[in-house]
Symmetry: C2
Subunit: 489 residues, 2 copies
């Protein structure tokens, strides 16, 4: 007798095709021991009827399961669970329900959980007006060509090479095209030995901090500053000095007399978007040469520079090799990719490579190769050009709407970027404003997390336009204006 079709149930699942859902059902039934080797499967007709799907769907699923050796086909008499079907071993196991023997508060030697308030809800896509920063916008990304590049990278020829453990190395093709096509956009020339691929800019900053900083060293950061960097520095337990930025970014003359590392975002200061003028860049490098400190240039968003020509990177002006340059594909491609890179002097890159290898070996080869194809075929440069056009349009709509609603911008002199740094009227706390706006479907990012202390004006907030369609911008800004007017009453 065959296994009754009625023991199989489809779970509503829109992500997976019917055929694959049926495969999953059968695999699960065999692996769990519910269907045993030698048992006959329900006929494709019966199972199709029971599940309410086309018979061919079941037949294809069964055929696939035969090729995977879960089932065997015995011609007219139908499909059977294979005698050698994959199975799970059986054990007699202790009851794990009272799993409370360890005092974890004593056992944990180092703590990493920080209580950073969550500024972005996980379901930000469900909001109608997501003025949210740093996420991807499927409308902007050249998914079609990315998919083609991924296909190429996962093809047989590349796969056999990419499947192996690279130990500490990188995909030479990705390194080559970063050197040939990305770094020249920033005026940087480098050799392959001077570059390390990382799992995004966060990873690049983390590696850099581990190598340069100890409890006895001093780091300077900008205020306000990317909160992820502040977390990294806290964990190194170095002495951290925050310096207030102005409309031209970090003022070099305010640097302390003794320091080891400066972290800066000269292209677009994070989060104010201020661009550091070339004169300041030269001054910073002079001070670095005199004071023998290192400058970490986080060029996280250089591609998005469309208002004027971008300034050359600090790294390109650096005759002594004191600049460690951090780049990322998160803004130009997409953040879930987790790819970035460090460009620095060879002795530094060697250490960084050793640390990366200790922690995780290397970023997955298939991802590196996909990005390499995307670069080599010109899709990356085309993507940057397209993004620039769309961001320029969105930005001008943002400016007009902000002006109509009389909201206050706080920075001048920006070269582009994908956001505005705003200031609510006195007395308004942007965290409360943000929570209240969520009810209207509007997401803004409160500014408090960017500041070194809690004593700053709580009115700052960031409005990004990288994930919101142009047509939605005026209504979204109008809702923010309305909420602020209500709050002032």
């Amino acid at each position: 007798m065959a296994i009754p079709a009625e023991t199989f149930f489809l779970r509503p699942d829109t992500e997976t095709s019917l055929q694959q859902q049926i495969q999953q059902l059968v695999v699960e039934a065999i692996l769990s021991g519910r269907c045993l080797p030698g048992e006959r499967m329900p006929s494709s007709r019966k199972l199709a009827e029971h599940l309410g799907v086309a018979r061919i769907t079941v037949t294809i699923a069964y055929t696939e399961l035969v090729s995977n050796e879960y089932l065997i086909s015995k011609g007219r008499s139908g499909y059977y669970v294979a005698q050698n079907a994959p199975s799970r071993p059986k054990f007699n196991l202790p009851d794990q329900s009272e799993n409370t023997g360890i005092d974890w508060s004593r056992t944990l030697g180092q703590r990493f959980l920080a209580h950073v308030p969550v500024m972005r809800p996980q379901n930000w896509r469900d909001y109608k007006y997501p003025f949210i920063y740093g996420q991807s916008d499927p409308r902007l990304f050249d998914h079609h060509n990315w998919r083609n590049c991924a296909l190429k990278a996962v093809g047989r020829k590349d796969f056999d090479i990419l499947a192996t453990d690279y130990y500490e190395r990188d995909d030479p093709m990705l390194v080559e095209f970063i050197l040939r096509q990305i770094l020249p956009r920033r005026g940087i020339t480098a050799r392959p030995e001077e570059i390390l691929i990382t799992m995004g800019a966060q990873h690049a900053l983390w590696i850099t901090a581990q190598i340069l900083l100890t409890q006895r060293r001093t780091a300077v950061i900008e205020n306000p500053c990317y909160p992820g960097l502040r977390q990294i520095l806290n964990q190194t337990r170095c002495n951290t000095i925050s310096i207030d930025v102005d409309n031209a970014g970090l003022p070099p003359e305010k640097l302390p007399d003794s320091l080891d590392v400066v972290f800066t975002t000269p292209s677009h200061h994070c989060p104010t978007n201020a661009t550091m003028p070339v004169s300041r860049r030269h001054r910073l490098l002079e001070l670095a040469a005199e004071g023998e400190f290192v400058v970490v240039e986080d060029d996280y968003e250089f591609e998005i520079s469309f208002l004027k020509s971008p300034s050359p990177a600090l790294k390109s002006l650096d005759p002594t090799g004191c600049v460690i340059y951090v780049g990322s594909f998160s803004k130009s491609l997409f953040p879930g990719l987790r790819l970035g890179y460090i460009v620095a002097s060879e002795p530094f890159i060697r250490e960084a490579r050793a640390l990366r290898s200790l922690v995780l070996r290397h970023p997955p080869g298939l991802i590196q190769r996909t990005a390499a194809y995307f670069l080599s075929l010109g899709h990356y440069d085309a993507q940057i050009a397209r993004m620039g056009r769309i961001y320029r349009k969105r930005r001008s709509i943002m400016e007009q709407s902000i002006s109509e609603e009389r909201l206050s911008l706080t920075t001048q002199g920006t070269f582009g970027g994908s956001s505005f740094w705003m200031k609510a009227p006195d007395g308004i706390d942007s965290t409360k404003l943000a929570m209240s706006l969520r009810q209207d479907g509007v997401l803004i990012e409160p500014g408090s997390a960017f500041f070194a202390t809690d004593e700053e004006d709580p009115g700052h907030y960031r409005l990004a336009y990288s994930s919101i369609a142009s047509a939605r911008i005026p209504d979204g800004i109008s809702l923010i204006g309305k909420k602020i007017r209500e709050a002032r009453r």
Copy 2:
């Protein structure tokens, strides 16, 4: 006048299609400023003639470049560099040739470069007899279905979700199928809150060591031991005690009275392959409960257990939650994938997640989703079954050849694995033996890197059969036997 076709050259490159090579040529020429906006491209006929390719190949490349906005088509008059073609900014740059201003020996705060001898040449695939451990074998891997799963993951529907920054989260689909399809194979039941996806087992061990160990804590490791773990512990500066293993793995009665963490490989001890009997597993857990220490179970190769049924994982016997379980896809899928996982009590996983997020956010979503499909459609279990069959065959050929050549095995009682732990006759140094065998196209892995001190017998070596075809084994083993006999003369 059109740009002369003669200024374009194909570089011999078997990895990339002709059409894509032509695209690259043109992109490079435009980005470098060699072809300027408004200039006319050579006709497809002329360029095809010059490059020696079919005209349609050039036409398709041009069409692709039009859609990427590098070129525009003006009907009969041909293709022109677009006025708005992507371009690179130009800078006046200082001379970077004397890039020697920084004294890196003083600037580096922490050093990570260890001088571990390279045991495996990068070009190991070019060797005829690669008895090399832990690399992938394209003959064993179900590349066809992996590719299909990758295609599905990079499809539009999944892509839009996977492209976003997950912050500290994982792909819920991968977590679900690890819980449903992998952990039951080890007798482990767990909740989604008790699992963290990592960039491979190395990353999992690194995270675990960071959280549990400080300079004031004591870790116990096996001797011999996976060298990557010893490097991780060195970097934490904890007190590390190495305990010699025997034919049944780590002997619990030799543990010191006071310790904080034990790292062990009970399924197949690394590198001897000894399997820890269930009685020892229970004893180890009793001691852990009494001594309030944590056991880190590195189950790096459990899938490759084909001689007897696998023993249940330590984690499955653990009523108090003192076991931190580390799994990896490197052996069952392929090492370049860089995917593994930690299963442990929720307070530990929360810290591990925070640390992972600080260092790199999360493993790339596309990779996680591809693996999830591979699991969900039953390919993973089918793959394990297939590998078991082939490894069993290779192992028996290995055993026969080893016996015929009278080479010495050192461990009994193994349940499978993908290698043998060998011992050369007294007086033979396996490092020299390995270097000498390379000339014959034979790769073996010398044992010295696995030991805590240099005082061990230098005759140990590892012979793996995960990357060598069955038909090559007898000749390879015979060459090893011959070399050893020569060395003894």
